[in-house]
Amino acid sequence: MADKTIALKDTDAKSADPTLNVSKDKDVDVLVKFQDVSLTYHDKSGETLAISNLDFEVRRGELLGIVGPSGCGKTTVLSIISSIIKPSGGKVSVDKAEAEERRDKCGYMLQRDELFPWLTISQNVLLGTKIKKMKGRREYAYALLDKYGLGDFKNRYPSQLSGGMRQRVALIRTLATAPELLLLDEPFGALDFQTRLHVVEDVHSIIKSEKKTAVFVTHDISEAISMCDRIIILTARPATVKKVVDLTPIKELKPLDRRESPLFQKYFEDIWKNLQNKRG
């Protein structure tokens, strides 16, 4: 109980001053940096400020969660990181790379597996490497399939696999292009609850054992707590950082074990409260 209060207090202090979200510590290896990023949408009915003054960073090797009220622009944040969408203002850098190179550094995992039904599992896994014209990735991709229990399904078609297996294939397809940064956009949303728990476990262990940096967007608080090292809570539109929750105390636990931890409920309530009351 005691250590938990300290942890929460620590982050409360951070959220009080938004500039503190960005670490001043020079030792921290920062991969992604958002500085004062804003985005304005234009359509027939007018313009909407979707994101304003967004400051945060993703440290190398961490699994950062982004939660926020629905429609607050969580997915947009990922699109900005990978430069599919250009921000209206502010500065974004991924490993100091400028816009166009950024997309090659990022690997996406989407809500649905989006496996192509007319390709075999091995062809699906190699799709990204073919499109990016990367040579000699076959060995690595096949090794990943073997390592994560899909070796025997290389020549099967997606329709012959279960939902959980398909989502693992989707992750390996992303990893095959050796991205520096994984962007996970509600990747479990289309799975039923039972499968979801297992796939969360799988994906977490794959990301950790491949030592990847990942940004995980979700509306599911408990999923975020069971996966992430740190969680950023966004406000409703226009999105900005409301609070950063540090999950270091349960960082070493696996997703299913975290759900058993007494801290889990505390974190849940903290994030829940912050999502409830509107800005400020």
């Binding site: 997309r103 996406y108 989407l110 809500q111 989006e114 192509f116 039904p117 499109i131 962007l183």
Partner: protein, 271 residues
């Protein structure tokens, strides 16, 4: 076989019943055909119907044999088949290419779409005389005619397939930084194989219509010419024989496309 070995007696009974049902339906199908032909022949023989006007199966068969002997049937059927296959291939190929161009360029699509819809609504047969004047009364005009009838609908149906490609998969391609050409070859074309095949199926029928209409107008050679000629000289035997041959050829071509569809669905069918 293996499956049948270890299934329950009840299931075996069910399977046998299903099999019997299938055999019965197929027997009845042939039965209906044979019955109609037999009735036609019988009524003609008994002079209940005037076989000068209605012809009869035996007279059709005689005409068929004599047309085969002097080889004219093969010439005419060959001409028609050639015109149909060429226009069918052209319609499918050109149609798909035009659909790709329209998918590629949003502005082009927005500008041309209403024109295509109007062209599609136009009864193309009305263009017959113009086509004959422009292209000349021959095989060319007939192929253009069949092409006119099937091309626009191919473009429209293929294009709508292209535009309905799964948005999530397009997003995936975007996240992989795919170029438009890569999106076309890796996603849009493969996912539209079923659409293109179903366009083929429609085209088979339309191209036969176009070819026969063209032959009616041009009247030089082909099954359409035989039918028109037979009608003009009141040789109903010739008209009926040509029609039956036409029927068989069209059915064969349709069967080929259906087979292609089966193969394609196996590979590209939606999971």
């Amino acid at each position: 076989m293996k499956k049948n070995m270890n299934c329950s007696a009840e299931h075996k009974k069910y399977l046998t019943a299903q099999k019997h049902k299938k055999i019965a339906v197929s027997a009845m199908r042939w039965g209906v055909l044979i019955l109609i032909i037999a009735l036609w022949e019988l009524l003609a023989r008994l002079n209940v119907i005037d076989s000068f006007i209605t012809s009869s199966p035996s007279r059709i068969w005689e005409t068929f044999i004599s047309l085969c002997k002097d080889g004219s049937l093969f010439t005419h059927a060959g001409v028609t088949l050639y015109e149909t296959v060429v226009s069918f291939l052209l319609a499918t190929g050109l149609g798909t290419l035009i659909a790709i161009a329209l998918w590629w360029c949003d502005t082009l699509r927005n500008v041309l779409e209403p024109h295509l819809v109007v062209l599609n609504a136009l009864p193309k047969i009305a263009l017959g005389p113009i086509i004959i004047i422009w292209v000349g009364a021959g095989t060319g005009a007939i192929i253009v005619m069949a092409l006119m009838i099937s091309l626009i609908i191919t473009v429209l149906s293929t294009l709508s397939g292209f535009m309905e490609v799964d948005k999530g998969k397009l997003t995936l391609m975007d996240t992989m930084n795919a170029t438009k050409l890569q999106k076309l070859f890796y996603l849009v074309l493969p996912s539209n194989v079923p659409t293109i095949i179903s366009a083929l199926k429609i085209n088979v029928g339309l191209c036969w219509v176009g070819t026969i209409m063209g032959e009616y107008l041009v009247s030089r050679a082909g099954l359409g010419y035989l039918i028109i000629y037979g009608g003009q000289v009141f040789q109903l035997d010739l008209v009926m024989t040509s029609t039956v041959v036409l029927c068989v050829l069209a059915a064969l071509m349709y069967a080929c496309v259906a087979l292609l569809e089966k193969l394609a669905y196996k590979k590209f069918g939606k999971a």
